[in-house]
């Protein structure tokens, strides 16, 4: 829910970083792609230690709050979105970049048309990020604490119901979660359907 918001924050950042002229910073791209496989539990642990009252960011008093969970999920989603956006943006730039510059656009002005060209990929990137945040449990249970009514998410509720031996309820929650995921992705693609059919399908 609020996690989609974190994804929205991650997207422009990722876009700018990926599309903007690379100043020989190949390393950033390598790093982001490496962070693709960031283990959630490690993110959770590091964030837990950082946000703890005895940690460097303890004064923020964010541990065991929904905000801490949003941060964790954003950290996990950012590399995925940024890497996917970068890859698509790079390809579009290689093909259309010179034309746009020739037409007298600055690099900054060239960004909107490039984004328009790769909008289908943008969608995929955001959905991939959303998929990561909605399915996440390891990091979120560490920094959120699975507090009833405050930091309990679908995934941590499933973990809890399973540990109470209430497998039917856990399974039902799982079905709801999968349903949410499918309907979000279906809605997004339905809205973007016509645009997608236009092109940029050959990858």
């Amino acid at each position: 829910m609020a996690t989609a918001l974190a994804t929205a924050v991650a997207l422009p950042g990722g876009t700018a970083l990926a599309i903007y002229p690379f100043r020989g910073r190949r390393w950033v791209v390598v790093l982001i792609n490496a962070l693709f496989g960031l283990p959630p539990v490690v993110v959770g642990l590091i964030l837990y230690l950082a946000l703890s009252h005895s940690g460097p960011l303890g004064f923020l008093e964010l541990l065991f709050t929904p905000a801490a969970m949003v941060i964790a999920q954003a950290i996990l989603a950012i590399p995925i979105i940024a890497a996917l956006v970068h890859r698509a943006g790079e390809r579009a730039w290689a093909r259309y970049g010179d034309e746009l510059i020739c037409d007298g656009a600055s690099r900054l002005q060239a960004i909107p048309p490039i984004l328009a060209i790769i909008r289908a990929e943008l969608l995929t990137a955001v959905l991939a990020g959303f998929g990561r945040t909605i399915s996440e449990v390891g990091a979120v249970i560490l920094v959120g604490g699975n507090i009833r009514g405050l930091t309990r998410t679908m995934t941590t509720a499933i973990a809890l119901q399973t540990s109470q031996g209430d497998l039917p309820l856990a399974l039902a929650l799982g079905a709801v979660l999968v349903g949410i995921s499918i309907s979000v992705s279906a809605t997004v693609f339905a809205l973007a359907g016509p645009a997608r059919a236009a092109g940029s399908d050959e990858v």
Partner: protein, 274 residues
């Protein structure tokens, strides 16, 4: 400067995420048993409606809960491992430690009872039989109160963690009580459980109680208030209100009234044998 920015950012983030707004709240670090059994979910609404203080429960197992409190991330502790608690108090982290409820541990096992221990009342003899029959035994392995109790019993039965971990039949799953019961149910293994979680557990499979009624299996739950000198940041006043309520007549009545399938899971301390 950066610090001020971060605080503002944190405040903004907290504002846009859902949560309880103005009302007072405390973080209670507790064992998994009081949460998994449903006790806290049953009694907390009564306390919150009376005082306006919301209690945010982080269920972690005694070892982790105590660590959380030592880091200053919790305002109050509800735990059940006398040895660890005593150490916590001796090191000056706690201000008061009061018993709020008790029940007992039970050894549960598969219906076909390969170690022939069912119906006994001697937990040590039962563990010895399980070991000599090499019957599967699931251990929490998570430094929780139940895990500590299990290891104390094994020690009296002549086994240490080192010897146990070399045995194939001894399965350390590193999880909460519910996970251990799920594992025991799936593997037809014995395990030690607190009675509260056992009674409310919904996936028993072929598991039944094998051993109960041993005085060594007593399980006491304590609430520990933190030492203000060491934990100045904690919301100790609100925490004290909750701790006092738990031992008050109202709180004790709420604990005693909590039932699952017609059985009382936690006995109020007023009825304590100690």
């Amino acid at each position: 400067m950066i610090r001020r920015w971060l605080v503002a950012l944190a405040a903004a983030l907290a504002a846009i995420t859902p949560g309880v707004a103005a009302e007072q709240s405390i973080v209670l670090a507790s064992t998994t048993s009081v949460e998994n059994s449903g006790l806290l979910a049953a009694i907390l609404p009564q306390f919150t409606s009376k005082t306006g203080i919301a209690v945010h429960v982080v269920a972690q197992g005694t070892g982790k809960a105590i660590d959380t409190a030592q880091r200053g991330d919790a305002d109050l502790l509800l735990v059940h491992d006398p040895d660890t608690e005593r150490k916590f108090m001796d090191e000056g982290h706690g201000a008061t430690r009061r018993q709020i409820a008790w029940n007992d541990f039970v050894i549960v096992g598969p219906a076909d009872d390969p170690a022939h221990v069912r119906g006994g009342h001697d937990s040590i003899a039962a563990l010895k039989s399980i070991a000599s029959a090499q019957a599967p035994f699931v251990s929490r392995g998570d430094k929780s109160g139940t895990n500590a109790e299990e290891l104390r019993l094994w020690k009296q039965a002549g086994q240490t963690p080192d010897t146990l971990n070399q045995e194939k039949w001894y399965r350390d799953i590193g999880g909460g009580m519910g996970q251990a019961l799920n594992a025991a149910s799936a593997m037809s293994a014995y395990t030690l459980s607190d009675r509260g979680t056992w009674l409310s557990f919904g996936n028993k499979g072929s598991l039944t109680i094998a051993v109960e009624g041993d005085s060594r299996l007593l399980n006491r739950y304590d609430v520990i208030e933190l030492n203000p000198q060491k934990h100045a940041g904690a919301k100790l006043d609100a925490a004290k209100v909750f701790a006092d309520w738990l031992v008050s007549a109202d709180g004790q009545e709420a604990i005693g009234a909590f039932q699952v399938n017609g059985e009382r899971l936690f006995n109020p301390s007023a009825a304590s044998p100690e």
